[in-house]
């Protein structure tokens, strides 16, 4: 960990990054990224409430910044097509405005059919019936004063457009890029420079059951002094809407409303903040292939502790302790404990 980075927890004095925080960042960073690896479920028990989940997400985000495949650009057009299909075939005719959980329609979020472009920041365009799914051609209606015109674009140029209320897949100008300097927590991290201007949804932070605001506040209580600037953890992990960053490298699942912040396929890793969030994620079908890292504090009622214990016991029917990964970790700070299970080979 670089000594030039200073740390402050809940407005305490600045100090070098403490070992417990370093451990959590390192854990996120060293989490196996290879998709061929068996699914893993980890539970970290903390002796107090903290933004530990945010730190694990930060570590995993740094690792993703080094992965040339970790971006939303490559599958962007397919995603827009799926979104258009959902809008035209399911959401537009649907009478329930709109809760996919209640409608049980199988979608995680409502599709409004609106697209936005960084080049037209004050406008949205509406996906049109003229969209041809067989020819993979999205069409939309663009207003120009009093006139409406139908627009079709080639797929390769569609990275200019993104789903409304979501981060763009990439940013074209230098002012919207993330600064590599902010993420030099791991000295040896081999960053892939393109990633600093591309969004990514494969890493997900599942927030507290108190909602997005509670999750954001606890992350904001942890601050880093990097060079001459100060940054809250909520800013560094670039959850969409938590800061004024243009791109987002961590998607957010609101455990209270069970909604994603974006139209997203199953994330590769979910970091769950709190017991209720962990239990919700572990039982949600959308995440059944995702790696899960649950972070809890153990100052809670026995019933809630039992629910977690029962969940881990139930998982052991199909999972086994991941001794290789546990033994590869640095020494666990006193007061913290961690259990990692990996899916058994059939």
């Amino acid at each position: 960990m670089l000594s030039t980075v200073l740390f402050s927890d809940s407005e305490a004095e600045w100090c070098p990054i403490p070992r417990w925080a370093e451990f959590l960042i390192q854990l996120g960073y060293s989490w196996p990224a290879d998709v061929t690896q068996p699914r893993r479920v980890a539970l970290i028990s903390m002796p107090c409430d903290s933004a530990a989940a945010g730190l694990v997400a930060l570590g995993a985000m740094i690792r993703d910044l080094c992965d040339p495949l970790a971006n939303d650009v490559d599958g962007h057009y397919d995603r827009l097509l799926r979104y258009a299909r959902q809008y035209l075939h399911a959401c537009r005719p649907c009478e329930m405005k709109c809760n996919p959980q209640l409608a049980r329609c199988g979608y995680s979020k409502q599709a409004t059919g609106l697209l936005r472009s960084p080049f037209l920041p004050r406008k949205t365009v509406q996906i049109s019936d003229e969209t041809n799914f067989e020819e993979r051609q999205i069409a939309w209606i663009q207003r120009d004063g009093q006139n409406n015109c139908l627009v079709r674009r080639r797929p390769q140029y569609m990275t200019d457009y993104h789903i409304d209320d979501e981060p763009p897949p990439q940013w074209y100008t230098a002012d919207g890029e993330l600064s590599a300097q902010l993420y030099h927590f791991i000295a040896t991290a081999p960053f892939h420079p393109d990633n600093f201007r591309k969004s990514y949804s494969g890493l997900c932070l599942a927030g507290r059951t108190g909602g997005g605001k509670a999750s954001r506040e606890i992350c904001a209580s942890m601050r880093f002094r990097i060079g001459s600037g100060e940054h809250g953890l909520e800013d560094l992990i670039t959850v969409h809407g938590w800061s004024d960053r243009n791109i987002s490298r961590v998607s957010f699942f609101n455990a209270r409303t069970a909604e994603f912040d974006r139209y997203v396929a199953a994330p590769r890793i979910v970091v769950a903040d709190g017991d209720a969030s962990f239990l919700k994620i572990a039982g949600q079908t959308e995440f059944q292939e995702s790696n899960i890292v649950g972070v809890i504090h153990r100052i809670m009622e026995r019933e809630r502790l039992n629910a977690l214990g029962d969940k881990m016991s139930a998982l052991r029917q199909w999972y086994e302790p991941d001794e290789d990964m546990l033994l590869g970790l640095p020494e666990v700070p006193r007061g913290m404990s961690i259990s990692i299970l990996k899916r058994r080979h059939n």
Partner: protein, 539 residues
């Protein structure tokens, strides 16, 4: 100010081991009182009738309190015993053995009035020592027990407890900073009387735990549970905890020192687990007809018991909250500082269930009404003889024979219905509806009842949902008034505006605390009750 994560981890680094100083107190007269009461409770619970169980619950509750709270030995103990009746009455109701045990308990209660409660003396000595040493300490106790701690130092020269911080709940403990010593009276249990957070042992914020406890009251096995407890070699004291072989970390290490005070040469020398009231009562107090409940305390005197997964209508006064009025889970999303909302309203006329009289019901109900009118006692006698053993069978038959309300009411049990049809001898005349597909007549009639019940339940659910939506709409419109009242007072009513479909009012109660660990019957749930009444349901 809660301790930051860095402070807590630093604290752990500086404390390789934590210590428990267990002070076990014994006292002959109090031992007699305990044994006598325990034997009465066990006998009454074995006896089984409702009144006996209620009396046993009251005695169990009182004894549990005396074992976990530093109560003064004054007339209150004797008075609590006398509330269940006189020795003569007890003998008349439950026999000689109970009377003998009760006599012993009364005698012991009278004799201890002349003595100081040794738990209080020990507690006073411990607190004085900590104060002299300048060591910061906290006391963990239930909110209602606080007065008994404060009464230890009533003299001006002993004005110590003004500076003491009490911890009453998991939230209090979570929000506390680090300190030197935690004091706890009574055994460690995860719920019910003497309950405390497992985190006291799984995530200590203090170096020394002083536990003052009556002899024989053992801690609950496995207290200090951590679902990710590592199976490290450093285990003492809490070795009974389940270790997780897949977990990595350093288990919290405790060293325990037990000091015994006082003497009790009662009939059983020393105590075994058989004599531990909490284990004995735990076995007696199995859930049975009761359900687990969470207490939401709304002031110093009153509270409401909710099922743990109830969706409680509530208001969150915090500014900036996304959903100020909504349904929340007690203890999880319904937290101290928020307001419970209890609506009182007239019925909303939604048209009711459209259950029409069916073909079969019109036949059997007409026959039942005719036979009941002709010879009520004879009919009821025949039904009883055929095996329908219901209390108030007369009134049940009266209800079942009503044809004006459609298919229902009808017997709730399939066997009872079959017997009823056999007694009435209906369906033997060959008259069947056009779509009757064969099978016994009573079976088709029973299917008609089942369908009607399904409709009625569905209608009830639908109505409940509509009322709920209407209430939320009304509360949304009243938000400015609610905020204004909530800022000024802890409990207030609000009348539903007259232009709404529902008529009535809301009662708002500010939540003081929430507490798990109750086993209560359905009749005690979701209603405001005196805390003294509620505490008898503490497990």
């Amino acid at each position: 100010m809660p301790a930051t994560a860095s402070l807590v981890f630093d604290f752990f680094e500086n404390h390789p081991s934590f210590s428990i100083e267990r002070h076990e107190i014994a006292m002959a007269a109090f031992g007699v009182l305990r044994r006598s009461m325990r034997s009465i409770v066990v006998s009454l619970r074995d006896g089984g009738d409702h009144e006996a169980c209620e009396t046993a619950d009251r005695l169990r509750s009182s004894l549990s309190e005396w074992l976990t709270v530093p109560v003064p030995f004054d007339g209150a103990i004797l008075a609590a015993l006398q509330t269940i009746g006189s020795p003569v009455e007890l003998e008349a109701r439950w026999g000689r053995d109970i009377r003998n045990a009760f006599d012993s308990a009364l005698c012991a209660a009278q004799s201890i009035q002349l003595i100081q409660n040794p738990i209080r003396e020990r507690l006073r000595a411990v607190i004085r020592d900590l104060d002299v040493g300048g060591l910061p300490f906290r006391i963990y106790c239930h909110r209602t027990a606080r007065a008994h701690f404060e009464s230890l130092f009533t003299k001006p020269e002993d004005a110590l407890l003004g500076e003491v911080t009490f911890l009453h709940s998991v939230c209090d403990y979570r929000d506390s900073d680090t300190f030197d010593t935690l004091i706890k009276v009574g055994p460690f249990r995860s719920w019910g009387w003497g309950s405390a957070p497992d985190a006291i042992k799984a995530a200590p914020r203090f170096g020394t735990l002083v536990q003052i406890v009556w002899a024989g009251c053992a801690d609950e096995p496995g207290f200090g549970y951590d679902p990710v407890a590592p199976s490290a070699s450093e285990t003492t004291g809490s070795a009974a905890q389940a270790a997780d072989e897949s977990a990595l970390g350093t288990r919290i290490s405790w060293t325990q020192r037990v000091t015994r005070f006082g003497d009790d040469d009662g009939p059983t020398a020393g105590y075994s687990s058989e004599d531990d009231e909490f284990q004995v009562f735990g076995r007696l107090n199995q859930p049975g007809q009761k359900r687990r409940a969470t207490l939401v305390q709304i002031d110093g005197e009153q509270g409401i018991l909710y099922l743990p997964h109830s969706q409680v209508l509530s208001f969150d006064p915090a500014t900036g909250t996304d959903v100020p009025v909504g349904h929340r889970l007690p203890g999880e999303t319904l937290l101290p500082g928020m307001f419970v909302i209890l609506p009182q309203h007239d019925d909303l006329d939604l048209g009711g269930s459209q259950i029409q009289a069916g073909f079969f019901s019109s036949v059997w109900k007409t026959r039942l009404a005719a036979e009941y009118m002709a010879d009520p006692c004879g009919l009821v006698g025949r039904l009883k003889a055929n095996g329908i053993r219901l209390l108030n069978l007369h009134s049940s038959v009266g209800r079942w024979s009503r044809t004006s309300s459609g298919v229902l009411p009808a017997p709730g049990d399939r066997c009872h219905f079959q017997m009823l049809i056999q007694v009435l001898r209906v369906g033997l005349d060959g008259v069947t509806p056009p779509k009757h597909e064969g099978g016994p007549w009573w079976q088709s009639a029973w299917n008609e009842i089942r369908h009607a019940r399904g409709d009625a339940i569905q209608t009830g659910r639908h109505e409940h949902q509509l009322i709920d939506e209407e209430l939320l709409g009304i509360l949304g419109g009243l938000l400015p008034a609610i905020r204004c009242e909530a800022a000024a007072t802890k409990a207030f009513p609000l009348v539903i505006p007259s232009d709404r479909a529902l008529h009535g009012s809301f009662s708002f109660y500010k939540i003081l605390s929430t507490e798990d660990g109750f086993l209560a019957p359905d009749t005690e749930l979701n209603a405001v009750r005196e805390l003294n009444t509620i505490y008898q349901w503490r497990a």
